[in-house]
Symmetry: C2
Subunit: 371 residues, 2 copies
């Protein structure tokens, strides 16, 4: 192989596929990026056996071929090269010479044939969504996936397509996050569970352009994301996702409207007084026009009054402050509505059209606080 | 104690004195900042028994007094308060209430009387230097102090005052850094060794204003830095600093002039191929107009030609690339002159007026490289 490409293209291609290079593996070939000529382009591939990423960059192909190069070393070398054309030439015994201006690096690659290629799948069923929207709905839900591998479906997110509506669900044992977006086209109904790890990587490498689309193919066992010159393939999680309908009642006995930023800052301050391991709840005492927030810990105590608009009954209810902050952080509205029933029933943070619904289980502060 | 001050002043005061709060200590009072009213100001003090820092902020003093508050907790609380006036009121049993707008924190302090006060020293002999100059000369020399506590003088820097000239020296077993600056006034000759740790903290908290001065008092056993509303006190290191005169010969057999940035980038790239523990030298082959840089390691090899202007003999010489980079990083000149004698004698990077002199010991590449 002998190719010439710009440092910039090569660098950005490596950055994209590096997301599928495993940190620790016993198979050193997986720590490599495969470079392979493809017409007047070079295809870069990485594959950690869960996610595979492939991206193409423009290049002048002097001699066709392929080579697997250590991903970290290649990334570091390319990052430190001058901003100019880079030549990569493979000689006998996988000796690879990388030249840019007067700098000449010589490293040893591995046979491209040893690289585990990505699964071949038929691309038939697909949906289209803008890069920005996909990036946003992942960010707005990914924080509440579970991390218990014994409960594998919780480690993924449900993508539910109904006509032109895409709903994304994530949940762990304490909370549920749901986001709804409208697609440009209508599609047959479909429910698929995509691994959280895949979505996290997609979120990182998606440029997030509002005018450009991502095509998502579902192939039974796999999902493929295609955008720009990049393709990401991942296994789907098998099994039926948790049913949340019965939890999502619209009943409430107390509804408050509150300035989101004020509430978020207040809980953020309160969290200073809690250490990770210690499960102190934040206690909200809701009365007409005012909510008092209070936290008590071995470190000290904090309380703060926040103006609210209230409908319904007064209420005293406790929450894990981190879960509350997680949801508030990804809501862009200035004011949020919070719906509650009683100190033991789930609380809802949602807008009128259910474009977002964040469900939080309260914490039993009576026993925890000893009050 | 009962005081009101702006969040901004309090926050910046805490940031300054926090540099003297120890990370780990068995004496929990040392983890505190002492707040003490002083006329219409509040004095903040921290003391890790090696360095003490004191700074004053404007405040409305409602009731005089003092209190020691956990430094980390106080810093975090203040950082997260709204940008407004902060009230700190000490009640019975050192219960301290911090109020800002509607947020009320209650924490438990410690008796201000238990705090170890800073040593009282007479401020007589002093020199003046601009904040910017002091900050710069520390930055330009501190990287080459030693870290072996069995060789305690190497962990400090020599400040040598001769008339209106201040020379700062730092050295370890492989290199020497010397910077020279002119002071606005002349002072009696003096040599003092200031701990590197103190200088590191000074460098961090000095605003670095070119128009404002730092007064440095030497009191036999201590050094005091005074600037703005802040005072830093530290012990001096006792003993005579290493004599470097005989090393600083001006003889050379090879002199090269080279573009600093080009050389720095080239060595930076070469360092990709070395792991920390592995002591591979970078080898420079100097001939007329060109210097070839070369490195060989288990990871791969790199070579690169750089244009130079040469006087004297051709030379092949090896260096620890990190030491070379450390010196180049803090030189602002576009072109640097490098003076060498032979592959075993010290090499000098210096300007014509000796405003900077960086001395590096070469590495014996013949045995290391097996060439």
């Amino acid at each position: 192989m002998n190719i010439v490409c710009s440092k910039e293209n090569l660098h950005s291609g490596i950055q994209i596929v590096s997301k599928a290079v495993p940190n620790r593996t016993t198979m050193s070939i997986l720590e490599c990026i495969l470079l392979e000529t493809d017409g007047s382009q070079v295809k870069l591939t990485a594959n950690d056996m869960e996610i595979g990423i492939e991206t193409k960059i423009d290049a002048q192909v002097i001699k066709e071929g392929k080579i697997a190069l250590d991903a970290k070393l290649l990334a570091e070398i390319v990052r430190k090269l001058p901003d100019n054309d880079v030549t990569i030439e493979v000689k006998n015994d996988f000796i690879t010479v990388i030249t840019c201006e007067k700098a000449i690096f010589t490293i040893i690659g591995k046979s491209g044939s040893d690289f585990s290629s990505l699964p071949e799948v038929e691309k038939i069923d697909s949906i289209m969504i803008s890069q920005l929207t996909l990036k946003e709905i992942i960010r707005q839900t990914i924080f509440s996936i579970g991390h218990d591998i014994n409960n594998i479906l919780m480690t993924g997110e449900l993508f539910e397509i109904t006509g032109d509506v895409l709903k994304v669900y994530s949940l762990d044992t304490h909370r549920i996050s749901i986001r709804k977006v409208y697609l440009k086209n209508s599609y047959p109904n479909r429910k698929e569970v995509i691994p959280g790890k895949t979505l996290n990587e997609i979120m990182k490498i998606l440029p997030g352009d509002a005018d450009k689309d991502v095509t998502i193919f579902f192939t039974g066992k796999h999902v493929i994301f295609e955008f720009d010159n990049t393709m990401v393939i991942s296994r789907l999680l098998e099994g039926e996702f948790f049913r949340t309908d019965q939890l999502l009642s619209r009943d409430y006995s107390t509804k408050i409207s509150i300035n989101k930023k004020v509430l978020q800052n207040c809980i953020d301050r309160a969290m200073l007084l809690i250490k990770e391991e210690d499960k102190k709840p934040i206690i909200m005492s809701i009365s007409d026009e005012v909510m008092e927030l209070k936290i008590n810990s071995v470190i000290g105590s904090m309380n703060e009054d926040i103006e609210i608009e209230k409908q319904g009954q007064d209420l005293m209810i406790g929450f894990n402050p981190k879960y509350f902050i997680d949801a508030l952080k990804v809501i862009d509205d200035e004011m949020v509505d919070i719906y509650m029933i009683n100190p033991k029933s789930p609380c809802f943070i949602r807008d009128n059209d259910n474009n977002y619904v964040y469900v939080l289980m309260p914490v039993n502060f009576i026993t925890v606080d000893g009050a």
